[in-house]
Symmetry: C2
Subunit: 278 residues, 2 copies
């Protein structure tokens, strides 16, 4: 490659105004699930997260950047990669970027990507799959943390039934460290998720807070869906009636209940123990 | 009790100024570990947290309150309890309180309590104790989350060796939901913590990220100290040389590493499994 300056073409001027329509649009896309659905776009913020999105073959339309926030960890190389594509590059001034960003200490990069398919039918499972189901998950930070645990334990798929949180919420991306962009995740109603589980002949091990046998008495060696209820309500009647086993993480203390990602890790760690050597 | 009005004595006037010396002191105590040590005081914010502190027989000196932030969940009853003691009650205006508070959405109550003894020698352990050791823990939010997991699994004591974070950091109290005020916790150098472990004849199961056997091959049935390294560095040479077993949480994914409270829960859940029926 010739030693051409970083940007040879005249880019549109730097956007400085906080009232600029693109800045306002970035704020809307960050804050409004409805706007994300309308445009079928969502923001991915941060160098690492955008790189994960590229590796996962997400489709990008625009990248907003502000060199004042760069930390010299490869931001310019990333921009250069985008420059050779159809993706539009737009520079923002410092205040305009800070207004558009989700993070308090932004890294100077926000990409817009196309919303991708989250239907259960897109998932393909191997034999004896280990699947995690979250019912009515509410908090984006919890969902992100669960995705980290799920990835660490090599879960084959994560299914969200009647999710309250929007999967494309920026904090899901942030708290999963970008894993939400590449993991096999699907979203559906309780009935759709149950249909998927039944079609794949998985047994359902539901997490309970009482009146249940300890989790290590559950059977995780065959194809299984580990089912965790919402942060506030636990499992409702639909799943109580459709689960095959009801298991509890034995707790001796007086703590209210474990954090969702902690509960998930306890189940997944036990599943890993039972599946060792398989 | 006679139906006397809530405050019969003339309280000192409401503090409105953000420049008031008490407001400045509250900010210092919130932000500076050094200031907390100098005065041997630390702030406890929030109704539930103060109640935990009372139940744990912590010694209070002052309570700052601002009724504008009350949520009618028992704040006045709590103030009434303090009124019958030597604890000084001080009302703050809304801005003054907001400046003094740690939380973004404060509950209108900040108590000052005396720093309590955290020496290992104050801990007494039963037979076959389950102890958790955190080496060089840095983040108050992580420490608080670990304390929640530890309480849930009925850990007998939590020991912090060469802690980077100050145990009286407001976010430790917040993220542990006040559990830090009542749990059996001790703080010391690596050598002091090791001496405590040896004196109680505990075996040391250290968490590793590589070159180790899976955690379920560890032995948690006798008195044991589960040892977790710092968020960034893992275990250094001191603990590598002094641990009896090196165990790893088997991970198949590419996640960097599990969150500290998730790792702790995996170990504690396995210990609970091995100790069932004991």
């Amino acid at each position: 490659m010739c030693a051409k300056p970083f940007f040879t073409v005249a880019l549109s001027e730097i956007i400085l105004s906080l009232q600029n329509s693109r800045v306002k649009e970035l704020v809307k896309l960050r804050e409004s699930p409805r706007r994300r659905r309308e445009l079928s776009l969502f923001p991915i913020e941060g160098l690492r997260e955008i790189e994960v999105g590229i590796d996962a073959e997400r489709i990008f339309t625009e990248v907003y950047y502000c060199p004042s926030f760069f930390r010299e960890r490869g931001e310019e190389i990333l921009l250069h990669r985008f420059k050779e594509t159809d993706v539009e590059l737009v520079e923002l001034g410092k205040d305009a970027f800070a207004k558009s960003a989700f993070r308090e200490n932004p890294e100077g990069l926000i990409a817009l990507a196309k919303i991708f398919d989250l239907q259960p039918s897109r998932l393909s499972l191997g034999s004896h799959p280990l699947v995690l189901v979250l019912d009515e998950v509410e908090k984006p930070g919890n969902l992100g943390a669960v995705l980290r645990s799920a990835e660490a334990f090599g879960v084959d798929a994560v299914l969200l039934s009647d999710a309250v949180v929007d999967f494309f919420n920026p904090n899901v991306i942030r708290s999963s460290q970008g894993l939400s962009l590449r993991m096999p995740v699907a979203v559906g109603s309780k009935e759709e998720v149950l249909a998927f589980i039944r079609a794949h002949k998985l047994s359902i091990c539901g997490s309970s807070s009482k009146n249940a046998v300890p989790l290590w008495e559950g059977n995780f060696t065959d194809g299984v869906a580990i089912l965790l209820g919402s942060e506030r309500e636990g499992l409702g009647s639909f799943w109580m009636e459709n689960q095959d086993e009801s298991l509890v993480i034995p707790m001796s203390g007086s703590a209210d209940s474990l954090n969702l990602s902690v509960s998930a890790a306890c189940f997944l760690s036990e599943a890993a123990r039972q599946r060792r050597g398989q």
